[in-house]
Symmetry: C2
DNA sequence: TTCAGGCGGTCAAACGTTTGCACGACGGAC
DNA sequence: GTCCGTCGTGCAAACGTTTGACCGCCTGAA
């Protein structure tokens, strides 16, 4: 029943024309205070809610933003990692505050990322897009599609993109430096395979810090682990740590990965942090609850989401002229997985 | 540019009327194969995509379903727990397959659950609602709003609700039975405070299993822990386990909770599973990575989501007459947190 | 030859808003 | 007493589809 009342019903009851109702409800100054009040009352008594479809149709603007997760899988695979829900949380928060809605790209497996974007854009829902960066570069598609879009993560073409990201080279630097400051020099960089831009950046920071401290970086100690069936392949890592000549510390790109490493080390009879220290990334529950609790850099995914949404909404409103980006600060939260290296 | 092409453009180019275009594109049998093909070609060449707003306006049906998370916080607080993303994943999967979209309720803090629902419904977006059950009963609101709605979790009024849930009394039963079968008799039930229906059900199952085995349930061993500042308050639990006369096993309602318990036990010098066994719930990463890995019942949140979405879409299509529910089976995954009790 | 009926298509109304424009009344300046 | 500007409101066209009603044509039966 509620959804029945239309602007015309109000018009009839308030004895004005539909257009007047529309204007009155939108606080158009051309409407007298008296009429406005009358219309308001009637509207309230009918529990009137404007039909957004009709509204959007003429205004060509929905208050909906499409959110596209990596791998086009939408809420799929990626959602396994707590990073994504956290981002979503941030997106949701400011969307709610600004009275926007979030339309999730629920790409089925057979729907490419670009297809998902097009779908959202072409369908006419979605006045803007938020993309979690991937290997492809969505900005091209976005341009083709003609919708405001902001990326979360580092885009391929930063100059021409709107995005929010962490300063990952600084993050890599500081994580490494944290170890170096405590005396470590033999430190291993543990990442994923696949060329994630983020990882390249952190690695860069890693190298920088190492260089700063005059610590040699061994290329065979930069190890990307392959995920096979959702489980990290640690064979290479095992070899490294089995030798006498092994790292005393590692900078690891993700908490779950670090926890896996801990397991490996344990089987090798190596203790954390006594024998090897770990600085991890993402500050997840997995790491917090782990024993020892992981020292981990928190990239503040929630803030990433919040800033992304804020930026996008501003773009939609036409308040942003030039490609912009915002740099969300990270924090290194200290826990129990780092200790000075054994003397030697 | 892409989004420019309208049905009229096609009509002009294909030299037919707009209505014919519409019908041709929708495979209406009244249109000849010849014309249909011609229209198709033109449409393709213009990269035509129907404007969903206009479409929805006349058909009064969007292919959008609103998803409402507990506490109306939308993607907020609740999202911290991996259960929710998993549900979302399931929702997204079938939504994608059926070409539906998911509109997230991004309730800001000041938006009540009911308000969020109304918002989604009244706005005209959302042809149906999915609710993660909470303490309030949304079915009333839903009725008032007049949209198909399915709940995930156990509703207050099962007879008149559409919902998908686990059989939580059975789950509680089996979890407990698992312990009992291994010889435990002194088992504690660890839950949260607040009256979650789900927990009441599991407790019921717990009692049933205990009774079956003739094990006494001690009411002081049914302990709800309070969360204060996101950290469980374990003082009560500490007292219980400090005594000589303590449980040899516990059925715990959530992995993070169980991990917390493990920490507590450790400080008390009690080993898991040697001194106390644990069967946990939710089968999260936190539990998998924990040492010892937690035996935990997996309630299959992803499947919950999938079934919920399937049911809802069927409802929207008018294929469901009577209030229905689907019961998603759970599985107890065995790991390392359970052992027989010490003799004695 | 006429008429019923199917076929293939067009017409126009509808969905519920927004918004440019016209319009009448009124008040003041000349 | 005309002219002009405001002010408050109504008219109607648009937004891009869908859909019921209608229509002309052709075929085949009476």
């Amino acid at each position: 029943m509620a959804s029945k009342a239309t602007i015309k019903d109000i018009a009839r009851l308030a004895e004005v024309s539909p257009s007047t109702v529309s204007r009155a409800l939108r606080d158009n100054p051309r409407i007298s205070e008296e009429v406005r009040a009358r219309v308001r009352d009637v509207a309230k008594s009918l529990d009137f809610h404007p039909n957004q479809m009709a509204r959007s149709l003429v205004k060509r603007e929905t208050r909906i933003v499409g959110v596209l997760f990596a791998e086009s899988a939408g809420a799929s695979a990626s959602m396994g990692h707590p990073f994504y829900p956290a981002v979503l949380q941030g997106l949701g928060k400011v969307a709610g505050e600004r009275r926007y809605h979030i339309l999730l790209s629920t790409g089925s497996e057979n729907l490419s990322e670009e297809a998902a974007m097009r779908d959202m854009a072409d369908s006419g829902f979605a006045s803007g897009l938020i993309c979690l960066t991937t290997l492809t570069n969505p900005e091209e598609d976005a341009a083709a599609i003609g919708l405001p879009m902001v990326e979360i993560g580092h885009p391929l073409d930063p100059k021409n993109s709107y995005y929010v990201d962490n300063d990952n080279v600084l993050a890599g630097d500081e994580a490494t430096r944290y170890l170096l400051q405590r005396g470590h020099r033999r430190v291993l960089f543990l990442g994923f395979d696949g060329r994630y831009i983020m990882m390249a950046h952190r690695l860069k920071g890693f190298r920088r810090a190492m260089a700063d401290y005059g610590a040699a970086v061994r290329e065979d100690w930069i190890v990307p682990v392959r995920m096979i069936e959702n489980m990290p392949d640690f064979t290479l890592l095992g070899e490294i740590f089995r030798k006498e000549d092994r790292p005393t510390a590692v900078v690891s790109m993700d908490d779950p990965l670090s926890v896996g490493l801990c397991g490996l080390l344990q089987t090798l009879g190596l203790a954390v942090p006594a024998d090897v220290s770990i600085v991890s990334f993402n500050n997840t529950q997995v790491g917090q609850y782990h024993a020892p609790a992981l020292t981990s850099v928190d990239v503040h995914p929630r803030e990433l989401g919040m800033h992304a949404m804020t930026l996008l909404i501003n773009m939609i409103k036409g308040n942003v002229e030039k490609p912009t980006h915002v740099d969300v600060p990270f924090t290194l939260v200290e826990r129990d997985s780092v200790a000075p290296p054994r003397e030697g």
